[in-house]
Symmetry: C2
Subunit: 399 residues, 2 copies
């Protein structure tokens, strides 16, 4: 007998609301220590005490970004950080190559157009990675060095695809002149992004992802080459003028009032990340991804992104013979587990499991076992039934 | 015998750090209920639960703004909100009148210039109010209606001056065509800003002031007349494109990930404000201002702004025969009370007492009595000694 969705306990029932479990690709679960840091009394942002915190978080951000470049903090969502990453280093009419294989690649093309850039889009189907050869061809053909920047999304949150940033960046370096501007919103802190080793010029990210803190902070790392471009940039800007942030950061402060309590949260989260260590963080994300994908395969459900380009932040599933939105509804109503839906034309066609940030092995087993029961109750027939929880647990136990 | 500052207990002593008292004009003290709301687990920003909160806070923001206009929430500081208020309704080359009698008026002139507006500044000395007659003269002379907007700071945080917005706005209305764009960052929630009654087109504010919540949220109220101007506005923008926020707000959501935990804080703070009631809130701020100013007068210290234009958010004091920075240092070191210093050319010349947001009668008496002792210990001689605490208490007791 299947459950009637209507009869399931309602998530709006306030008595159990703290049992809510976030398995979406942002906002991600926030550790208790970080939540409690946010509940501390606000202090003045021009005080020596706050400057001391700014100094610590800036140093730790550089550690996390694996860079000696400036890493600047803006009060904004990830989109604001990306906009800052674009409007400080380019001028109207500049030609840019934008990789687009999902909602966020599309967004950078939109921002670029809104600011009068000449946008040449390299597209791929949603769920497929960008073709690095297309970048090579266009960059090699640009003998007159008209292309000023390549703008690319590393982990495409809307599809769970990890683009091959390393190879694209190599072609950029062979071009020699253009900048590489990277959306690392869901990759930073979930997968290796060695900024200095690769020579990434501008890398933008947001707090509600691998950082394990609530939304509200954006981060932008800026290379010396990008700062040189900044000097000639003619785009209008004020709030997002990164030159002002750099000047203030040198004095451990900010040009405009920062969200003090979110900075408290950042301080604690970065301390936790340092304690875990970069290698362990990346290994954990890989392990959770493998476990999730193996379980989805054992369930007989199609994965949207191929294994070779699987993001370690989020896994998108394109179920057949069962409605994605029904799955999300039951997961939410009965188990109080939030999964993300599809965006734009993938709405209703996929669901997405976030496994980045403060997510443990146990969270994956919980999600997978709840998903298995949900599918059963929705009448889903697995074409080749396998032991699902066991499949999920293998990558977790072996490492 | 005077204290040696060096011998005073150090505020960096962690054991007493929770005793810190914020008496600066932002960030302001945050109520316990609001702090605890921020420590709640983050939820998905696309969930029905979050939309319900957005619906409630939007309705309550309209109540606080005394308007039926859209009131939009941006993830940004007050400066970001002001920038949004400028770049959505004007086009490069447009002529604007900017009132400037302090750091923030100056800032709006800078933003306007950064975006290519033709800026005509109406200035007054820092500490003096803007001359409303100058607005009248320039607006009356503009028979060809070239002036597209008047941009004015209501409460100038850097000096404690409340500009006569009502009169300036009346001249704007007589002009008939131009918009009025208001920085109400430290006036909203501290003094009456009846948006609909006066017909204010764009009003920007920030969370860390009268709202009693930490920094990180900006608010912009937009009139139908401003929306009409939006349609013809050619300034480039994306993150701060208020049209996107309006579209999303109609569905109780946001175009980009909002700072969920700060929205939790906003929800609770607005509930508290509704409970207190607008009239009581404004009366409390007036009372605290009167008490502060009367006490400063009894101390024989010069007030920067005249009584007639005193902001109910912040009081600036320009001490003679005693160093402003010494006062701040002792207040901080010995009593752990944070006062603000002067900005730009007033640095070292004034100190500022913030009395907006979650500030009570007791807080004023605490600050004033600590200030009296501080001055004594710094060797300050009051030219005509009066009973200072009694002076402060009179406005508090009589109301």
């Amino acid at each position: 007998m299947y459950w009637q969705i209507e009869q399931l306990s309602d998530a709006e029932d306030k008595s159990m609301e703290d049992k809510h479990m976030l398995m979406i690709p942002g906002p991600t679960p926030v550790p208790e220590k970080v939540l409690l840091a946010m509940a501390k009394h606000t202090i003045g942002h021009r005080s020596p005490e706050f400057s001391q915190i700014m100094e610590e978080v800036t140093e730790n951000l550089k550690w996390l970004h694996q860079t000696n470049n400036d890493v600047l903090i803006v009060t904004a969502s990830g989109t604001g950080a990306m906009e800052a990453g674009i409007i400080n280093f380019l001028s109207p009419g500049d030609r840019v190559l934008v990789g687009s294989n999902g909602k966020f690649g599309d967004r950078w093309a939109k921002i670029s157009k809104a600011y009068g850039l000449e946008v040449d889009t390299i597209a791929a189907e949603w769920g497929q990675p960008l073709d690095t050869e297309e970048f090579r061809t266009k960059l090699e053909a640009d003998t007159e060095k008209q292309i000023k920047a390549v703008i690319v999304t590393h982990s495409e949150t809307s599809t769970g695809v990890l683009n091959d940033l390393e190879t694209i960046n190599r072609h950029v370096k062979e071009h020699g002149e253009c900048l590489i501007i990277v959306d690392a919103v869901t990759s930073l802190g979930a997968v290796n992004v060695p900024i200095d080793e690769w020579g990434l010029d501008v890398v933008a990210s947001g707090s509600q992802k691998g950082y394990m803190i609530p939304p509200g902070l954006g981060f932008v790392s800026v290379s010396p080459k990008a700062w040189a471009a900044y000097e000639n940039c003619t785009m209008p800007r004020f709030y997002f003028d990164l030159g002002q942030y750099r000047k203030s950061a040198q004095k451990n402060t900010t040009p405009f009032t920062p969200p003090v309590n979110l900075i408290f949260a950042l301080q604690v989260a970065l301390q936790m990340m340092k304690e875990e260590g970069l290698e362990n963080i990346f290994a954990r994300h890989s392990r959770l991804t493998k476990a999730t994908r193996d379980a989805i395969k054992a369930l007989g459900l199609p994965l949207l992104a191929p294994d070779e380009c699987a993001s370690t932040a989020v896994t998108a599933v394109a179920p057949t013979n069962v409605e994605a939105e029904q799955i999300r509804k039951v997961m939410k109503k009965h188990f109080d587990i939030a999964l993300a839906g599809g965006q734009d034309h993938l709405k209703g066609k996929i669901f997405r499991i976030g496994h980045l940030g403060f997510v443990s092995d146990r969270d994956i087993l919980t999600t997978i076992s709840s998903l298995e029961i949900t599918l059963q109750q929705l009448g889903y027939q697995n074409p080749a039934p396998k032991k699902v929880v066991k499949a999920a647990s293998k990558p977790l136990i072996l490492t």
